[in-house]
Subunit: 336 residues, 2 copies
């Protein structure tokens, strides 16, 4: 019998996540049934949507039930298997739990390819969840064309850093919005964005007027609030808005109903489309091949913000909502 | 030298159109230059967007300059021509003026086909402007599929009556929203909508819950305000919103910034796309053929609300914003 440590959701947070909302427990795992395997979790992916799953607001999957393990993207190593086609030692990634081990039938998991010379944290932190989110949101909804201007908020985060680089690959003029000089320097100097706006130090609207005087073709929207408003007001005719997230609102107790820009959407003939990465699941293979190809060709670099220790998951996830992470936020539960 | 009567915009309306904002003047028309023709205007199309053109708000064409003839969709008969390919007696339709005659190079006009057994008011009031608006908005943006639920506001108006009937042709469950029992009875009994909601007598949200308990796939949006809110809150996963107009806001002095439903758009993965019929100009021939075919097959009926007399244009256009029209609103300037 395997023992594990696991975070359970014991109370729905009201506003910011508070001590006692989640509880780290020790428990026994059941023996493997036919068709199951035991996964030693190596990385837990912490994502803005985790806060949504903790709430009972309207959302795109069932909320995590009270008393249940906290849901998360994870990757890990199979250490015992009674599932055909899944071998010990295999690295699997998909939907899992805030835990150090889990027993699963793997219905929501798939093998993570190993890329030569690429650490597991980078391949997991690029090919899983954030990479497909960036890829389908930008390419399918954003429809970037060479010479167009793309603005991406949360630019140094897990999704944003990839969106901007795919934008450059597609010939766009790419402007990132991020908090702090270090993140802005990173996306310009390391990732090749054309410019970055430090929303903590600059007026975003004035900076956009300076950096994109002709307006914005694509707003890859991740944050909502005043930053979204500044970008929306500068959209060009026939602009596109892949609506990926609204992180600035996720801790609101009663979310403000933000302005709709309806007249502007009509007059400038904008397209706004909300999406969730799993909508594109049938095309994950296409996406994985493209992302891996760009990574191996040196066209796609990503940064992970790795925090060791399952016990730190709650403190770490809260960093997402204050911009405390720098790159894709991962909890390292076990050595890769 | 031809004399004409023409409405000029002398002052931008503040709120509702007021006496003195437009002025009916008598003036001489210039002689025809090479490449021009003289059109006797038969029908002037009065459309919600006219109020936008009178203002200097952000819009999709230049506002009508102060002192200039009021712009409108028109159709008329060529009574003199110095333009190659345009013959006397030809019926032309396109962008013109609130006037009884006009001299034009016809750059924004094209011949209006004559349909056997169809009065000019019906062919003009269907094939021009409103028909293409309904056709492209519903088919290209709405992407209707058999069995889906379509809601159209301003259902007995010029565009709405056509949207609902194309929806039926495409196999949708069609719910119209209109003001008053007569309009509701018309769209159900005469046009074959599945149901109609009288927004002046019923709670729209409660009626939608009853008529579309499974939710709404397509919201053909024309009005904004509380009716839009009631529909948006009931959209289904992957719903589409062709954003055609926001008539409830056009007379606002300082338009209220209406709620954006951003969280709902994200969670339900909605697509909202603003459009103007001229965006689809390269495909007007395709649309004209389809609309004419449906009309001749008896699948598309339309009603015109014809008001005689150029002098009544201002009083008539104001009816649009209070729901005083019933069908496509036209001014009859001369006998067809």
């Amino acid at each position: 019998m395997t023992q594990r440590r696991c975070w359970k959701l014991v109370r729905r947070p009201v506003g910011d996540i508070a001590p006692g909302d989640l509880e780290l427990v020790q428990e026994n795992l059941p023996d493997l049934a036919e068709g199951q395997f035991l996964l030693q979790i190596i990385y837990i992916s912490l994502d803005p949507t985790n806060r949504i799953w903790m709430s009972d607001m309207e959302q795109y999957m069932p909320p995590v039930p009270l008393g249940a393990p906290m849901r998360a993207g994870v990757c890990g190593r199979v250490i015992a298997s009674r599932k055909a086609g899944v071998a010990e030692g295999q690295i699997m990634a998909g939907l899992g739990e805030w835990a150090d081990h889990m027993v699963t039938d793997g219905a929501m998991m798939s093998p993570l390819p190993s890329l030569p010379g690429v650490p597991l944290a980078a391949s997991y932190g690029t090919l899983a969840l954030v990479g497909p989110t960036a890829y389908f949101g930008l390419l399918d909804i954003g429809q970037p064309k060479p010479g167009e201007t793309l603005v991406v908020s949360a630019a140094a985060g897990g999704v944003g850093q990839i969106v901007g680089q795919i934008g450059k690959i597609k010939g766009c003029h790419v402007i990132g919005i991020a908090g702090g000089r270090a993140k802005c320097d990173y996306v310009v100097n390391e990732l090749g964005f054309d410019a970055a706006i430090d929303y903590k130090a600059e007026d975003v609207g004035a900076a956009l007027d300076r950096l994109a005087p002709g307006g914005i073709d694509i707003n890859f929207e991740q944050v909502g609030g005043p930053i979204m408003a500044a970008v929306m007001q500068r959209m060009k005719l026939f602009g596109r808005v892949p609506l990926c997230g609204l992180i600035s609102t996720y801790n609101d107790v009663t979310p403000a109903e933000e302005p709709g820009f309806w007249t502007l959407m009509l007059m400038r003939r904008l397209t706004v489309r909300g999406f969730i990465v799993t909508d594109f699941a049938p095309r994950f293979a296409e996406c994985g091949a493209a992302l891996a190809g760009w990574m191996l060709a040196g066209q796609l670099k990503t940064r992970q913000d790795i925090r060791p220790g399952l016990e730190n998951a709650v403190d770490a996830v809260k960093q997402l909502y204050s911009g405390g992470n720098f790159g894709k936020l991962l909890i390292e539960v076990a050595a890769p």
